[in-house]
């Protein structure tokens, strides 16, 4: 029984409270209400997923037929009956060259997902082989003071995901390091708050694209005579700048709205300014700071795709853009795969933040 209690605690802490019915069903004697709970919280969501897939399948079939009919009619109008029949047969046979280009069906997306994974396996095997092959040569090159040879082949989908995660974490870290200290300082002083308010209000709604261009202007000049990866630098700084505002505003608000009773206690005990900040003000504003950080991380992940796309820095954003430009038969379904991967990773990132928040702050949040 003890095991199930800790299991519950972990799921609760991660905001996965909705998984409780499963753990209840499998870790103890199932009660009647557990079964009802199971139906309500597990079966109903599964039904809704099936419904979603059904609507998707229906929609993509309708779009496919529309596109196919259009193609056939066009062939009929341009080249006559024989060409139209040929086109109809070609589409029905599944010949790649004449497939209508439209919303892919769930099964096509699933197939593309598997293709991408296969592709990843091939590329990583290739990479490993390359590494083994060049290991001896690289050692010599390093010994001779030359740069080692690195793999320059095409990155796989999974590699792109990790590149994106790296960029988003760098951006998030930057946002955290800028926004939290400034937020605390601004929150502590009403004078600073009113004197910087205009800046926050004006820059908060600025679009990610503009931030990117601004960062580009500055970084381009700064990295002129160094051979650092300026696309990565530009994209992570832009991500940080776009996403830091939620944390800045929330931190300032949290710090400025600390319960008056706590401040009075600090005054009566004559706590020094450092102690006041670290023992009273920061802990009591942690929930709001974390709310801000959660928004920041989700905004960072959201703008990342657009920024990677524009900054030509590798990652999911450029993957989506390349597939769109590519126009191969499975490009559309690869884009949908990327969409789901982006969504699921965004959701997981939010849960990770929620878990950290629940571990460090005094009031517990259920996942929303």
């Amino acid at each position: 029984m003890k095991q199930s209690i800790t299991l519950n605690k972990i799921t609760q802490l991660m905001g996965f409270g909705f998984l409780k019915p499963i753990t209840a069903l499998f870790t103890g004697k199932p009660q009647k209400e557990d079964v009802v709970n199971f139906l309500k919280k597990i079966v109903v969501p599964i039904l809704s997923i099936l419904l979603f897939l059904g609507v998707w399948q229906g929609g993509s079939t309708a779009l496919f037929n529309k596109e196919a009919n259009y193609k056939i009619e066009k062939a009929l109008a341009d080249q006559g009956q024989a060409a139209a029949d040929e086109m109809r047969a070609c589409i029905a046979s599944g010949e790649i060259s004449c497939q209508p280009n439209t919303l892919p069906s769930p099964s096509q997306v699933w197939a593309s997902f598997k293709t991408l994974l296969e592709d990843h396996k091939i590329i990583s095997a290739d990479k490993l082989a390359f590494k083994e092959k060049t290991a001896a040569m690289n050692e010599k090159r390093i010994a001779a003071g030359k740069e080692p040879i690195t793999y320059t082949g095409r990155p796989s989908f999974v590699d792109q995901i990790f590149t994106s995660l790296k960029t988003v974490f760098a951006g998030f870290l930057l946002a955290l390091l800028i926004a939290v200290p400034i937020g605390v300082v601004i929150g502590l002083s009403t004078t600073l708050r009113s004197s910087f308010n205009w800046l926050i209000q004006i820059f908060k709604p600025v679009s990610p694209v503009v931030w990117l261009l601004l960062v580009f202007m500055i970084v381009k000049t700064l990295t002129k005579d160094s051979n650092s990866d300026s696309a990565f630098i530009i994209s992570f700084i832009s991500v940080g700048l776009c996403s830091m505002w939620a944390t800045l505003v929330n931190t300032a608000m949290g710090v400025s709205s600390v319960d008056k009773d706590y401040i009075n206690v600090a005054k009566v005990l004559k706590l020094g300014p450092m102690q006041k900040v670290f023992k009273v003000i920061l802990p009591s504003s942690l929930p709001l700071i974390f709310t801000g950080l959660r928004i920041t991380l989700s905004v960072a992940w959201m703008v990342l795709i657009a920024i990677e796309l524009l900054a030509q820095s590798p990652g999911l954003g450029s993957f989506v853009w390349e597939e769109f430009q590519n126009g191969a038969i499975d490009s559309n379904s690869k884009i949908i795969v990327a969409m789901f991967v982006i969504g699921i990773i965004g959701f997981l990132l939010d849960r990770i933040m929620l878990t950290i928040q629940n571990m460090v702050s005094f009031n517990k949040n259920e996942g929303v």
């Binding site: 009075n264 206690v265 009566v268």
Partner: protein, 276 residues
């Protein structure tokens, strides 16, 4: 007014380096509090004079909004004085400080700290030169005194309202203040818990004899705890209306107080004042 006779120029005496001879711990002299409003100044307190002796327990009773809490927070130094002065042992109050411990109406514990850490927060501040173990022992002693032996390491947020206020009491006594200020500390509790906490409070107070000023709405509480009950007139321009000496022996028990012949005389006196 009987307190007027005690009025000596306490500040001048101490400033001349002469040891302050009076038994007065806390001296409020012509105290005034004004809140500016768009329609002109609102005078909450005016010409308020009160002397509180060393080792005295004074309760203050009056209608809601008459300025009791304003007066208490001015003594605590949390609210600036508009006129007159407040002195503790002859030294004028210039701001908040641990020589005046406060027990607030809401327990005001830091919810992210344990009971022990909450008490330690004050103890660390007041006894910076004591060893860590000594400070911990002080905090534990007072938590033990308020009956929280098993709850040292519980987070404040996990404690009931009554338990939280017990920690509040421990925190206030543990910093060994000269004056203890209590702002309706039991106002938010149910009557059973309130009775328990009154007993705990008076038990510790009997031992420590810290000068205490307590605001209350509860006539029975005022009589049970106090040496003197101070009645304030209704605002605006509130001042001391009347003072009632409670001559029960200490240590008191609730039973002996309730059975005492004078109890209903005192009670009638207070209720008559409040109803007029």
């Amino acid at each position: 007014m009987k307190t007027a006779t005690l009025n000596t120029d306490a500040t001048a005496l101490s400033e001349n380096g002469i040891e302050f001879p009076s038994k007065v711990m806390l001296d409020l002299h012509n105290l005034k509090k004004v809140y500016p409003t768009p329609k002109g100044d609102y005078v909450v307190l005016e010409d308020l004079n009160l002397q509180i002796l060393k080792e005295e327990f004074v309760t203050i009773i009056g209608h809601s909004g008459c300025g009791k809490t304003t007066m208490l927070s001015m003594i605590a130094g949390l609210n600036p004085i508009s006129g007159g002065n407040i002195a503790v042992l002859g030294n004028p109050v210039k701001g908040p400080g641990p020589d005046r411990g406060v027990i607030f109406q809401a327990p005001s514990l830091m919810p992210w700290m344990t009971a022990l850490e909450n008490v330690m927060l004050g103890v660390n501040q007041v006894f910076p030169h004591a060893s860590k173990k000594e400070r911990k022992d002080i905090a534990k002693y007072y938590l033990h005194k308020v009956g929280l032996d098993g709850s040292f390491d519980k987070k404040a947020i996990a404690l009931s309202q009554g338990m939280q206020q017990r920690v509040g009491i421990a925190r206030a006594f543990a910093i060994k203040p000269k004056v203890l200020l209590l702002d309706e500390p039991f106002g938010m509790l149910d009557s059973l818990t309130r009775g328990e906490l009154q007993d705990i409070l008076i038990e510790i107070w009997n031992k420590e004899k810290i000068t205490a000023v307590m605001i209350t709405h509860d006539v029975d509480e005022a009589i049970f705890l106090a040496d003197r009950v101070v009645m304030m007139t209704s605002g605006p321009r509130a001042k001391i209306g009347d003072i009632l000496n409670i001559d029960f022996e200490r240590p008191r028990t609730r039973k002996s107080v309730l059975e005492h012949d004078d109890y209903y005389k005192y009670r009638k006196h207070l209720i008559d004042f409040l109803e007029h």
